[in-house]
């Protein structure tokens, strides 16, 4: 019994299109489109609203080198390619829990490298965890306890649109806070597209992204009672930094957040580490937590499943009886450009625009039905979208929470898990 469906409206539906995984959507399905009735942000509308082409359209059919064929032929060809490859790369990896399980099962059978499409962003956080750890919190805690939010960066509402609405100026908190009194501090470059809370007090400290780490380190030094010689750091006056430290120290439950996808410069993990060490230091006397925001395309999902099955989240190889992690060696784009891989299996079930990178190696693509690749791959198999065409599970970006996905549209599309299982059975 589908407890989520009443009066032709699907309620309490989970959106898998960004790391917040909002699960309060009400959706009506009209033909091949899902229309958001309540609560959908722009990313959600785009993800659910992507129209499904007619089943006969080429982008909804299995293909071999751009020509439609039977599913059986496509599976057979894919199996042959995988069986014969000597150094296969599995990329994209945008799927749900079942898809991740099937991917890892196949990768283990044939010995593959696994690199999620968001690895660069993921590793900016993962490397910090591996090196020094961190102190974090999760979204329900933020919603109820926060009194001061510090944002390193400027794209909160671009990448996680409903964050402020749901977790910062939310209507009620357990402890009866007036959430519009909560203070917001933005450190970064002004962004016109970032939609800020209307009523909360906002402070801006301006600096370029590459210097966010310097700011974090200066704050940390000041928080530890050290003296700074410089009058300013990254263009921000020392007085403003001291003021922020004072506020962090007197806050009862401050939260410092960032989206690692925005930190697109070399060694950005050092910036993240500086922020995390600041957070840890502040907990000597008060409570402060880090909140890594962001995520998309099932990155946190793949990372979790992969970690419990193999010990690693991404950029690792399964072969020779062990899992071997190396963020440089197993960078998929490097393997492709250096021609060290002889086959790319690209999985992308959520975002129709996330097509595989250019590759001289042959590729097998499991893409969201309707996906159009720039160059026809050796094999294309259209797949269902988790949370629209089949049920499953997906992780939120604060990783303690995994939400159920529902099936709301009736299509005959196969899931990533179905396709990979069929291939594995043929090996």
């Amino acid at each position: 019994m589908n407890t989520h469906l009443t009066d032709n409206l699907h309620r309490n539906i989970t959106c898998p299109f960004c790391g917040l995984c909002c699960d309060d959507l009400t959706i009506r399905v009209d033909g091949k489109q899902s229309l958001i009735v309540d609560n959908g942000c722009a990313l959600c509308q785009a993800g659910f609203g992507e129209p499904l082409p007619p089943l006969a359209a080429i982008t909804c059919q299995p293909q071999i080198r751009g020509h439609t064929c039977s599913l059986d032929k496509a599976l057979a060809r894919a199996t042959d390619l995988l069986r014969d490859s000597r150094y296969p790369l599995f990329g994209g990896l945008a799927t749900d829990v079942s898809g991740a399980r099937a991917t890892l099962h196949l990768a283990d059978r044939i010995g593959a490298v696994l690199d999620h499409m968001n690895s660069d962003a993921m590793l900016r956080n993962t490397l910090v965890v591996q090196d020094s750890g961190w102190m974090t919190t999760t979204l329900t805690e933020v919603r109820n306890r926060i009194d001061l939010l510090v944002v390193f960066g400027n794209g909160i509402t671009e990448h996680t649109p409903r964050f402020y609405e749901r977790f910062f100026y939310n209507a009620e908190s357990i402890f009866g806070q007036d959430t519009q009194q909560r203070e917001l501090v933005l450190i970064g470059v002004h962004n016109d597209n970032d939609v800020l809370p209307k009523n909360n007090p906002v402070t801006r400290l301006t600096c370029i992204p590459e210097q966010l780490g310097d700011v974090a380190m200066a704050l940390r030094a000041l928080a530890n009672g050290q003296l700074l010689q410089a009058d300013s750091v990254a263009g921000i006056q020392q007085g403003e930094l001291r003021d922020l430290v004072k506020r962090l120290r007197s806050a009862r439950y401050s939260v410092i957040t960032w989206n690692s996808a925005e930190l697109n410069f070399p060694h950005a993990e050092l910036t993240v580490q500086a922020i995390c060490e600041l957070v840890k230091n502040l907990n000597t006397d008060t409570r402060c937590s880090a909140l890594p925001l962001g995520g998309s395309n099932g990155d946190d999902t793949f990372a979790q499943v992969s970690t419990w099955q193999t010990g690693f989240a991404t950029r690792f190889r399964l072969a020779t009886g062990k899992s071997h992690f190396d963020p440089v060696l197993f960078d998929g784009e490097r393997l492709l450009s250096e021609q060290e891989t002889d086959l790319l299996l690209w999985i992308s079930a959520f975002d129709i625009g996330r097509t595989p990178p250019a590759s001289s190696a042959p590729s097998i693509v499991l893409g969201r039905a309707g996906m159009q690749c720039d160059t026809p791959p050796q094999v294309f198999i259209p797949v269902a979208t988790p949370g629209i065409d089949h049920s499953g599970n997906i992780y939120r970006c604060d990783t303690s929470v995994v939400l159920p996905l529902q099936s709301i549209r009736d299509t005959n599309l196969l899931s990533v898990s179905d396709v990979l299982q069929a291939i594995t059975d043929r090996l």
């Binding site: 399980r101 974090t136 109820n144 908190s173 419990w308 010990g311 009886g321 992690f325 929470v401 995994v402």
Partner: protein, 556 residues
């Protein structure tokens, strides 16, 4: 399929069988009585001279859930440094302290274990716990849902909710999280830490809610009793790890008000403050209290020397201990107005006085508690040591001269302070069978497991008798899971799927009104999405549910 195990020496304490030579018959997935003379035996195993016990049951081991995965993420070097296992499928996933889920299942089965229970399931994270346990081959699994630091319960208690309401909430939680028991971790303390409080004693009021840990324990335990849930409240007491905490532990036992109560990893809660190091063993006081109070059961949480990682929901204590992290990195997280988690890698050293005392204290308690039905063998994996150390631990309990040998290797003052050399007791095979099979099955209400009588499920371990008990328990001759042979000569030969054990006590669905209200106003997920159905368990999560009956008890 009819299987015969011929001539083995059977230890089945649930049925009073102590080392008798008997045949065991398995039909499909159950143990059956002697078949008719004309029935055809499909396979016969000659197990003369071998020891037969039911498959072992670990009632407290951190094998599934977000916390465990956080530890895996923190410590990639554990995977790099340890040998691969090419026989395992998938072939990857090494590490003793934080094995992959596949390796955890194989390694447990390879020691003769057929069931294991994750003791710290955060309700919001129950899906993950069950998914990890579903990806743990061979073993039956189950979880204890954590309550007692969640803001919903503390509000109820603070507002003077009656016991019936607490009962309904507890029962609702067991259903929603598909768990078999309830755990409380540092009652009120994890919540207090979110308010920046760093210590909380048993009779101290928590910030904001003004309830005491004693209240929390008493009310939750009473709920479980009245609901008829077989397993009593599983308590990680206040003040874990603090010298002098034995008094808190003794007082916590009294919070049971005479009802059954289980105190977990009691070793960490048995410290005094005597001597030059202001750290001493209070194992005698604790054991005396356990012996005198028949409503109390414990599992030890034995430490072993070496590198491991501590994984705990007790953020208050884990944060306090982060300065001891080895390697020097750690994680602490506040979680969803449910609880929290702290992961601190740790190295126990035999030449460190405190660590050596901890080792001795665990063993002292084992050896001083009279009733093997109320003490269970655990290392609180991985907090005390990886579960792969169980055979070594069994040898320490059964072989006094081995114990004495190990005593010589630890910090000499710890050896001198400890009572261990004066304790001559050696556990018998019968007592080991109670502590690792019959006892855990009974206290969890698993009536069809942990024994070898007809009607029980055929979870069976066969060991070659060996004077070196560590060898004996490390390498079973045969292990059967639900009647299928899964291990031969200590190695996996076949992989099967286990189930998830749960309880579904009755409750008034009216509780969903106040819960729904709470979720709507304060939570970040919808109540409908919080709950896990049986269907979800079987399909998207991947483990079918087996319901354990509640018992009829009435009001306490």
């Amino acid at each position: 399929m009819l299987i015969k195990l011929s001539g083995g020496t059977v230890y089945d304490p649930a049925n009073g069988v102590n080392g008798e030579v008997r045949n065991i018959y398995i039909r499909d997935n159950r143990i059956v009585g002697t078949p008719a003379a004309d029935e055809n035996i499909d396979t016969e195993y000659d197990v003369r001279g071998k020891v037969i016990m039911a498959g072992a049951i670990d009632l407290h081991t951190h094998i599934g859930g977000g916390k465990v995965n956080i530890a895996r993420t923190l410590l990639p070097e554990f995977y790099r440094n340890e040998p691969g296992n090419s026989r395992a499928r998938p072939s990857s996933g090494c590490s003793y302290a934080t094995p992959s889920t596949f390796l955890a299942g194989y390694r447990y089965a390879e020691m003769g274990y057929t069931s294991a229970f994750e003791p710290a399931v955060l309700p919001i994270n129950a899906r993950q716990a069950h998914m990890e346990m579903a990806d743990t081959p061979i073993l039956d699994t189950g979880g204890y849902a954590i309550l007692g630091n969640d803001d919903f319960l503390l509000r109820l208690l603070s507002n003077g909710a009656d016991q019936k309401l607490i009962n309904d909430y507890v029962a609702w939680t067991l259903h929603a999280t598909q768990c078999i028991g309830i755990k409380v971790v540092n009652p009120g303390g994890i919540n207090a830490f979110k308010f920046n409080q760093r210590k909380l004693d048993l009779d101290e009021k928590t910030p904001y809610y003004k309830v005491t840990p004693r209240d929390i324990i008493s009310r939750l335990n009473r709920a479980l009793y009245e609901l008829g849930v077989p397993h009593p409240l599983h308590v990680h007491a206040s003040n874990l790890g603090i010298p002098g905490n034995f008094q808190t532990t003794l007082d916590t036992m009294k919070a049971a008000d005479g009802l059954p109560l289980h105190l977990t990893h009691i070793q960490f809660h048995s410290y005094g403050t005597e001597g030059d190091y202001k750290f001493s063993s209070a194992a005698a006081e604790i054991a005396t209290a356990i012996n005198a109070n028949h409503n109390i059961s414990v599992d030890i949480g034995q430490i072993m020397f070496g590198q491991t990682v501590t994984i705990s929901s007790d953020t208050m204590r884990q944060h306090a201990n982060h300065k001891y992290a080895h390697p020097n990195k750690w994680i602490c997280t506040d979680i969803e107005c449910d609880a929290g988690c702290g992961v601190v890698p740790f190295r126990y050293r035999d030449k460190n006085f405190v660590n050596a005392m901890q080792w001795a204290i665990g063993l002292e308690i084992f050896l001083m508690v009279d009733d093997p039905w109320r003490v269970f063998l655990t290392t609180d994996h991985p907090n005390g040591a990886p579960f792969t150390s169980y055979p070594h631990l069994i040898r320490l309990l059964m072989d006094r001269s081995f114990r004495e040998e190990k005593l010589l290797q630890i910090h000499p003052e710890a050896a001198a302070y400890s009572r261990l050399s004066g304790l001559t007791r050696e556990y018998s095979l019968y007592e080991i069978a109670i502590m690792t099979r019959a006892g855990p099955a009974r206290i969890l209400g698993l009536n069809d497991r942990g024994h070898l009588a007809a009607g029980g499920y055929a979870d069976i371990a066969v060991y070659d008798l060996d004077n070196n008990y560590e060898h004996m328990f490390r390498r079973p001759a045969y292990v059967f899971k639900n009647g299928e042979l899964v291990v031969r000569h200590g190695k996996i030969c076949n992989v099967v799927r286990g189930s998830t054990h749960v309880v579904h006590p009755e409750f008034d669905p009216g509780i969903e009104k106040s819960l729904g209200n709470y979720f709507d106003r304060y939570h970040s997920v919808r109540m409908e999405n919080f709950k896990i159905s049986d269907d979800e368990m079987a399909n998207n999560i991947g483990s079918t549910v087996m319901v354990t009956d509640c018992v009829s008890r009435g009001v306490a």
